[in-house]
Symmetry: C5
Subunit: 126 residues, 5 copies
């Protein structure tokens, strides 16, 4: 029945308390890449992650950049709202240790800095 399927699947959901804000995701998303988040799902003994009174894993990081990390694991793209800065995501990607995302951000920072340098050079030559 549907009910049985639901209770079986329920075990796949993970609640995270990132710096005081709640996020929910699934084991399969969090393990898309090798990372701290994947190891957390696997209950690796050496991680020793605390859980709060809601059963959420507690992570002492900024919640404002965490959705960018999570979305990368969900759909494989780096999508940044215009008010956020690359450096903020880089710090989190390095903390969670997601290698392909770290590479992606560093590349984007290089592109951004090159564009800015070109544009300033252009202005000063006018």
């Amino acid at each position: 029945t549907v009910k049985t399927k639901i209770s079986e699947l329920k075990k796949d959901w993970i609640r995270l308390n990132v710096g005081g804000k709640y996020f929910m995701s699934t084991r399969s998303t969090l393990c898309k890449e090798e990372s701290f988040l994947c190891r957390l799902c696997q209950n690796q003994e050496d991680l020793k992650i605390d859980t709060d009174e809601m059963g959420a894993y507690m992570i002492d990081r900024d919640p404002n950049y965490f959705h960018v990390i999570l979305n990368y694991l969900r759909h494989g793209k780096l999508i940044l709202e215009t008010n956020l800065v690359e450096e903020g995501v880089l710090e989190e990607a390095e903390f969670y240790n997601i290698q392909p995302l770290i590479e992606l951000i560093k590349e984007r920072v290089r592109d951004r800095d090159k564009r800015q340098a070109d544009s300033e050079l252009g202005n000063s030559q006018n």
Copy 2:
């Protein structure tokens, strides 16, 4: 009486837990277009959506772009706050599989990229 009408209508409301944030909408809004959200309302057996302790359907996607999707279903327009990016909505529209919205966003991305290319061309010719 009013009371009876209310309890009858109540069944039409759906609570969604999108990546840890709650949204409420109605069956009629969610079924405006064929999509994952409509199939979810119809309790299709093959979807196997989990519900949380609040009875909300759990969806492992970003809540920050979800209101754009929901508003499209509510009033048929694609309205994007200036800090959001088209690519972010596209990922969600593709996940929820809302064909006319996917077309709409792709068109807008093409327009945006054309405008940018024109503007850069204009600058380099000055």
Copy 3:
């Protein structure tokens, strides 16, 4: 006594659940203009608005633009944060059917579009 006054006034407060987010306002604010929100306060039989487990009226619309609508009713001005777009408020003003606000937004859209057209014309003539 103060206590009696408080309990008397309490009846004036209305809780709204707009798309899953809570807002509070008063009957006198919501009835500043003829609108869906005013009719809702008057418990008009033909509206058949649902209430949730908190006793809040449930409205299937975007919460992110609702404060602009509510502020208009509070102080009579249309004040838009810079990341919001006029079209988003227009959709809501039309849904809630607040005629003077609809006029105000349409006028502002016309002004904005005229300014943009002028500016683009200026650029192309340089």
Copy 4:
């Protein structure tokens, strides 16, 4: 002991429900300037402010601009995030009736409008 000190101080905290969102501040902050907020702390009989089920004073105003008001009372400066507009704070400062803040905003609006007029004049003379 520390415990006794804490319970003594606790009375100084005020919970506010501004348009549905909670804020906490202290009596000493709210009474930094003469205003509606100070009179509210002093339980003046003629104010007749409602409280909700959390014991919070209920204020029928926008929560999105309220932190600017509160921060002004905390540190005496007018600090506006770039997506907010001066007019939005002015409406609130006038409602709460904080005279020095009203003056400060009006001055800033005059400066902003002057800068814009100068810049447009500059452009049209090119």
Copy 5:
């Protein structure tokens, strides 16, 4: 066992109620630098910080800038979303009395003002 390790570590978490919004962090983060936040963790008698019904330390400051402060303690960098202003962080850094962060922000303000002055000079000489 894992369980014992978890309960041992749990004591390290601190809940903060900053102006009505909750944040969670750890004693080791909050004591990265000498500051009000570190003294708060050490339960210094002379601080007399109130706690609310959730056991959170109550701080009468703006929650919107607090994550910048907390992130600085987490990873040692000053990362500002584009809608925030340096002056807003400076007020908080001075309140929490984090000397190296105060220096960092003042330096960034000087850089920003210099860049603006240069750019305005450049424009007026065209």
